[in-house]
């Protein structure tokens, strides 16, 4: 069993990859064989990430050197620089890994019924598995060039999935925008990695973090990395592609493409906290991240209010919600330098932002799935053409209520607890920001009640009376996320202590991150 734990970090990436290579052959046997291979691989990946998480919470950071004689032989015997690729999994990466595997499993189960009417189902599932592999690889790797390779994998598989329904004009357009933005972003990341490699001749993040002296070139590399990842993250000045791509992505893939942009958010924080950490002047960079967050919150919600297409409405809300995370963790970054402020509210802000990542992934994923269920049965995404679906699609309506209440931060739900943590800590930092955050949350509540009223209650349109509930796999997919949301809402303190605080400490503790590879700590 413990040998499985030592190899769990690489197996969580390699087993879905093996399943992805097997899917074309398995689909020759039959659809049922293919579905079992896909769901089995994702369930196994979820199991591996869970035992990896338990091991990390017990005895700290997990280092895995690929190709060496032993897992912790990060640096060759009497040498001072790591040569091989090292997977460095700390509490923050495994936290993101939990989100990725849960959402991928829910999305895969959700997509089973969707594929009965579409051709090309086995290629759809291969790409879905590769999207999950891309996200997991990006979160677990401790090597800058490997980060670029997995960023590229999730971009290409996400773009191909977004353009799956080729008979709709806007699907190919949404996919094209996503691939153009991702290609340019990935090339800028590669250029920044080249600059860092040119200076320090090492590619492992920990070795780079130890060697970085924040010279003029490092500032340029930091600027390029932050801009490229902000572009992938759909934070405001570069968010134009997000509504088009999220609204066209088929079945269970919309939440996965959204979690892919959250993985890029993790990538940005890994660069800011672990690669540069205290060497950069944290106040200025912290304020830049805060401004990005506030802009995303504000513009996201104002654009969302008058949307008529239900998935575009949710896409703009997704942008505004990721603004919350940028705000929370930006405040933490701004006060990273002085320990007194960090202890009083900085740590609280970061754990609020991190807790908001998982909450948002769960209820935003659920809302996207309910919107797709409405599209599946009604054939339209336009809110004006819906109405009175409460009687016909009872379960979808209940899931929509759970998601809508959670996103607008209504007290018992998990959205409220993480937003509360962000409000409290941001208030100490600067009250204006907290007030803006609360305003945005109220507008979110308003726009979701409007959406619920026009979709579910209200007069039943005549042509919709024969609509029946969505098939069972879609309900199971939505059910997984709904149960997770309810669990998170009932035991917030338990969740925060077991998952979120270790992730916050791991993100802040740069010395531990470097020591695990360079043998210092």
């Amino acid at each position: 069993m413990d040998s499985l734990v030592t190899h769990s970090s690489i197996l969580a990436i390699a087993i879905p990859l093996l399943a992805a290579f097997l899917t074309p052959l398995a689909s020759k046997v039959g659809d049922r064989a293919r579905n079992t291979v896909v769901i089995g691989a994702l369930a196994l990946a979820e199991f591996l990430v869970i035992i990896l998480a338990r091991d990390i919470y017990l005895n700290g950071l997990h280092v895995y050197t690929l190709g060496a004689a032993a897992t912790d032989l990060t640096i060759p015997e009497h040498y001072m620089v790591p040569v091989r690729i090292i997977l460095e999994v700390d509490a923050m990466s495994v936290f993101m890994g939990l989100i990725t595997t849960t959402i991928s499993l829910a999305g895969a189960i959700y997509s089973i019924s969707f594929l009965k009417q579409e051709t090309g189902g086995d290629r759809f599932y291969t790409l879905l598995l590769l999207l999950a592999v891309g996200m997991l690889g990006l979160e677990f790797t401790g090597d800058m060039f490997n980060f670029f390779v997995f960023l590229e994998i999730l971009s290409i598989s996400g773009a191909a999935l977004a353009a799956f329904r080729t008979r709709f004009g806007d699907a190919t357009e949404g996919g094209f925008k996503y691939i153009v933005i991702s290609a340019v972003g990935a090339l800028v990341v590669l250029f920044a990695v080249g600059i860092l490699y040119a200076q320090y001749n090492v590619l492992s993040m920990a070795a780079l973090a130890q060697a970085i002296q924040y010279t003029a070139l490092d500032k340029i590399a930091l600027a390029l990395l932050v801009v490229a990842l902000a572009m992938k993250l759909a934070s405001v000045p570069l968010h134009m592609w997000a509504p088009d791509t999220y609204s066209v992505a088929p079945a269970g893939t919309t939440p996965m493409i959204y979690v892919a942009s959250q993985a890029c958010l993790y990538g940005m924080f890994r660069v800011l906290f672990s690669l540069y950490g205290v060497s950069l002047d944290t106040l200025a960079i912290g304020w830049i991240v805060i401004v990005l967050g506030v802009l995303s919150m504000f513009v996201g919600v104002t654009m969302a209010v008058h949307q008529s297409d239900i998935k575009r409405l949710m896409a703009y809300h997704a942008i505004s919600q990721s603004g919350y995370m940028l705000l929370g963790i930006g405040v933490g970054l701004a006060v990273l330098a002085d320990p007194q402020a960090l202890a009083s509210y900085g740590r609280e802000a970061i754990s609020g932002g991190i807790f908001h990542i998982i909450n948002n992934a769960l209820y935003k994923g659920l809302l996207f799935l309910t919107a797709e269920a409405l599209f599946f049965s009604l054939g339209t995404r336009d809110l004006n053409k819906m109405g009175g679906m409460f009687r016909n699609m009872r379960y979808t309506a209940i899931f929509f209520i759970v998601g809508a209440l959670a996103i607008s931060g209504v007290p018992p739900f998990n959205g409220f607890t993480s937003k509360l943590m962000i409000y409290e800590s941001v208030y100490n930092f600067s009250p204006v920001l907290a007030v803006i955050a609360m305003l945005v949350s109220i507008v979110t509540l308003a726009s979701f009640t409007k959406a619920f009223q026009s979709a579910f209650t209200g007069p039943a349109l005549p042509q919709h009376d024969n609509i029946r509930e969505v098939p069972k796999p879609m309900l199971i997919g939505m059910g997984i996320l709904a149960i997770a949301i309810v669990f998170f809402s009932l035991f917030p303190s338990l969740v925060v202590n077991t998952i979120v605080t270790p992730a916050t400490d791991a993100l802040i503790d740069q010395a531990g991150y470097i020591g695990a590879v360079m043998g210092g700590a």
Binding site: H7, I10, A14, L17, L18, F21, L22, P24, L25, Y64, T65, L66, G67, A68, A69, A70, T71, T119, G120
Partner: protein
Amino acid sequence: MSKIVRTMSNILIPLVFIFGLYIILHGHISPGGGFQGGAVFASGVAMIIVAFGSASVQKRLKEHHLSVLESAGALIFIGLAFGGLATIFFFNFLAGSAVFGNIPPSGSNPGDLWTGGVIPLMNIGVGLKVLGGLSAIVLVMALASSGIEVEE
């Protein structure tokens, strides 16, 4: 395409394929490897498509043949990576063993094919994958731009 182009490509195609396979197999002792050799081979397939037209090529060379070839190459590659899992993922378990295991004398040497452990086998796996994949891309895009439906 015209008769001259067809006869010339008939003569050239075996040479291009052999050269592509040569680059794949000698990847660990001379410049080249899986990707470069696969690309050379795929350029041969592209030459066939240009010379004989994508419609006639699709009658003989179906797309799912190429996807099986590609999956097989990928499975060889990740299988070899899994092979070293006894010690660690991607461990070169054949270096120094019986198969492909000779260790070349350090410094400049004439280069012996029977060296490199897992690397030549991985080269072959990646070569098959790139060969199948790039030919599939060229074939499908040629069919798509000429408006012929791709047979599933």
